[in-house]
């Protein structure tokens, strides 16, 4: 009963890979955007802020469909990427990573932004008077001091990406071995007669991954905070 079938293993490993890639690619973007939103005033800032948060409030199926229209084989961006760079998202695991990245982006950006806002700008001024150019101020003061928030954002984003379902299945469907993540596998199993036991196994796995992620983030955040302020 507790043995996982090869198909279930495939779904679990795919989920981990999709969520890891989504988080790793989204993190530098998220940090850059969080910094812009926290520290700069520019025209259209509230619009950018709204766009970032949009996946949080839109029905996931809408986000998935918009992704399909944009990044599908015949989509504006998707066609160009396929023709010029050979990058295909439609019905591939990369598309699942894209969908998960977009859906988890607001959760990733928010804690990073908050922690950057919490960095004392007087310290950044001190760094400037010591000869640090803006980029170095960011790298040597702002970023290290906001690391706990960056970790928190990464873990939240990862957990969200692991659980993403609606946008992913809409955009890249539910193909075993390619785009069938834990969530879509559970969905398929629930629809199958006698699939309950297998579905429950995957449910248990999801719970374990989510709890591990939360504990891990707590541990990282505490360690980072200690490193920042302790001796």
């Amino acid at each position: 009963m507790l043995e996982l079938t090869p198909a279930e293993w495939t779904a679990i490993l795919l989920s981990l890979r999709v969520a890891a890639v989504a988080t790793l690619v989204a993190t530098p973007l998220g940090v850059a955007l969080a910094w812009l939103l926290a520290r700069r005033n520019f025209w259209g800032k509230s619009l950018v802020d709204a766009l970032v948060h949009l996946p949080l409030v839109l029905p996931p199926v809408v986000t998935g469909y918009l992704l399909l229209l944009t990044f599908g084989r015949r989509g504006l961006v998707g066609a160009w990427l396929a023709d010029h760079l050979g990058i295909v998202f439609a019905f591939r695991w990369t598309g699942a990573a894209l969908a998960c990245g977009v859906m988890s982006f607001p959760l990733l950006v928010r804690p990073i932004r908050l922690s950057i806002e919490a960095v004392d700008q007087k310290l950044e001024q001190a760094a400037e008077t010591l000869g640090a150019a803006p980029w170095w101020v960011f790298v040597s003061v702002t970023l290290p001091l906001s690391l706990p928030g960056v970790f928190a954002g990464m873990v939240l984003g990862f957990a969200k990406a692991i659980g993403e379902f609606g946008a992913t299945i809409t955009f890249v469907s539910n193909i075993p071995g390619e785009t069938q993540t834990i969530s879509s596998a559970i969905y398929s199993l629930i629809q199958t007669p006698d699939g309950d036991v297998a579905a429950l196994r995957l449910v248990a796995i999801s719970v374990v991954i989510a709890v591990a992620a939360l504990i891990g983030s707590e541990w990282f955040a505490r360690r980072a905070t200690r490193r920042l302020h302790g001796n």
């Binding site: 001190a126 010591l130 101020v137």
Partner: protein, 221 residues
Amino acid sequence: MLRVDIAKQLGEFSLQASFESEGRVTGLFGASGAGKTSLINMIAGLLLPDRGTIVIDGETLDDVAARVHVPAHRRRIGYVFQDARLFPHLDVRQNLDYGRRMNRLDDDPAQRTRVTDLLDIGHLLERRPGKLSGGERQRVALGRALLSKPRLLLLDEPLGALDEGRRAEILPYLVRLRDESRIPMVYVSHDAAEMRQLATQIVLLQGGRVTALGGVKVLSG
């Protein structure tokens, strides 16, 4: 030589100051709210004047009419803040080393030893700022500014956050610094006694205007 001639509107408060100083320690003296901190923030390049010029040793750092504004990180002006502002994620050694690294200066162990000896902070190098007393923090901040090899050092009420005992502890270091280093300083304070001990020239600031210039005797007038 420092030449300042600026105007800045800060809400209801208007700051208009013009002075020249040649002295080793220029004392910027005035009550709180007189505009002292805004003035040295402009010298440091952290605040932009509305009008006017700031020139150091013949180099124009600000000239609003000519659209010249050298950013703070290229001014080579050290700044010791009232609240020290040490980097909490770095230990004392890394704090002291920060300016040298950012300015890509060569490692200069002799200079570092001179400064840590002058300020008696050699035994604190491995500690984090969180584990320092107020006086120690201020001495490290002083050392950090000195080691970035500035051509001018700004000190904004460096004793302001300390109690009477701590002030008496730091003041001798500042006197030694004045006598042993060749870096000209602008020293901001509202404490006449401090000024008498340290400054070689006084700029009196009242309500955003320079009302007197000259030697230490300006303070008794």
